[in-house]
Symmetry: C2
Subunit: 265 residues, 2 copies
DNA sequence: GGATTTAAGTTTCATTCGAAATTCAATACG
DNA sequence: CGTATTGAATTTCGAATGAAACTTAAATCC
């Protein structure tokens, strides 16, 4: 994934739809080159193609979310991947940053085993046969492609790992991290009980949101990986509570105004 | 899915690759019509498109297998679907007939709940939000998209249902039904212990094969749904052992000679 | 230092493509 | 009974496409 392709992705995400001619002009390359870029991006599920144009994959699931601020998410995922040693077994919950983390780990071929309740991640890692995946069973949540319910907890109890990676939907100084969906939140809490360290991967704008379900108190979290948009008082609070904070510098910080609201599915 | 589309599918499966021009000539319709048919079939994952042509999806997974003798499999799946009552909870294991059965049940919107260890089926049913899916967790088998191992057994024990639907890889009069893969076979046996009736869906040519793992004795099987190609002595044997035999008449029986070997993934 | 390979991008062209307007037949409606 | 209405298929046409041959630049090798 090169520079230009990232830029195309960002452009398509702001404009919803761009023709091959428009993109070729904007990037100063031939239409053939743009077409090849679009073919690649489509094969990765990051956008859809129409005859003569690229269209934002506007679906409400992880696949669609992954395309939004892809570059930023990738930075976060890479920073998190550096925390994992070869041969390790990790738990990963759903969320677009987490999906990219899983992909990074699998692509690096370091003999990782992934425990997850995300069907999306399991399918996403299918093209990396070297990486073992164990799916924690449960009731299938159609839209988020995540498994929830008592089975997840029961399955998680068969394991104990060092690290759980997860996303979040919001944060408030008083209450800590929060989620949007009760069942998903319960599932990830059950997973956290079977992991030594709870590691949150999230874009910084989530620190300005709040979900409706209490997820984790600050003191329950071992590490947070986010981008430089995190409010200074929040980062101070996290550090004071002993949270390891990894802040990645994102090249282009997305300017949330005109863009579609983004939330972890 | 109309007549012509079925026929196109069969043709592409025997020829590997056919151009839009060839298909239009063969079907006596315009190229535009063929293109629309191909768009539809591609959207269902039953073939791939190239510029100006349709190509057999030659992958070794369920998606690829489903295209082979689609019409025959659909007949079997529909006959099996008739055995299920509204609101029922059923177990379904993997296999291409079973995937079609799951789809039939979900499309009929009868408030079915599906328990399965097949990630493919779970994803396949995603577009039917009305159908509940519970995935039995376990280790993810990359190619077959099935979950196996001790977790599957443990998860299955949380349930008890009336019917388990599954495929098979072979049959021999002396030993009964057989599978190709030990782990998958163990998983389906564990599921069978939690179901009142074991129902096998299989194309008849499997009765002329044999797998390497003992799967089920004839007396363990409650019902078999297959097509009219089943050898007469086999059907007699099954009936003598109290197996309910449903035989569907397939319009065109595939002539296995020049075709790619087909096996349940 | 020069030759060779590799990768990324471009130009060109015959072919295929999607969109829209049109035909035709079956079904529904008042 | 006549008239909408719908759905499937067709015709037409300018635009988009993939394939192949070509250019350029960087990396590799002897």
């Amino acid at each position: 994934m090169n520079e230009r392709r990232m830029k195309i992705l960002e452009l398509v995400n702001t404009e919803q739809r761009l023709t091959v001619v428009q993109l070729a002009a904007a990037m100063n390359v031939s239409q053939v080159t743009i077409r090849k870029d679009l073919d690649y991006l489509e094969s990765r599920g990051l956008l859809r193609r129409e005859h003569g144009a690229a269209v934002l994959d506007n679906s409400d699931d992880i696949q669609g979310r992954m395309a939004i601020n892809y570059a930023g998410k990738l930075e976060i995922a890479r920073a998190a991947a550096a925390l994992v040693t070869g041969g390790e077994t990790v738990m990963i919950e759903s969320g677009s940053c987490c999906a990219l983390l899983a992909e990074e780990l699998a692509a690096a071929q370091r003999g990782i085993t992934v425990l997850t309740n995300s069907v999306f991640i399991a399918e996403h890692l299918r093209r990396f046969p070297e990486t073992r995946v164990i799916l924690l069973g449960g009731e299938y949540q159609n839209q988020s492609q995540v498994l929830v319910g008592p089975l997840v907890r029961q399955n998680a109890e068969a394991f104990f790992v060092d690290k759980l990676f997860l996303g979040t939907d919001g944060f408030a100084p008083a209450t800590g991290f929060s989620g949007k969906d009760l069942l998903r939140t319960e599932a990830v809490q059950a997973m956290a009980r079977r992991a030594e360290k709870t590691i949150i991967l999230t874009e910084s704008h989530k620190f300005k949101r709040q979900g409706v379900v209490a997820q984790f108190a600050v003191t329950d979290v071992h590490t947070v990986v986010t981008d430089s948009g995190i409010p200074p008082n929040t980062s101070a609070q996290l550090r004071q509570n002993g949270v390891n904070l990894h802040i990645v510098e994102t090249a282009i910080e997305p300017h949330g105004a005109a863009r579609k609201e983004e939330e972890t599915p």
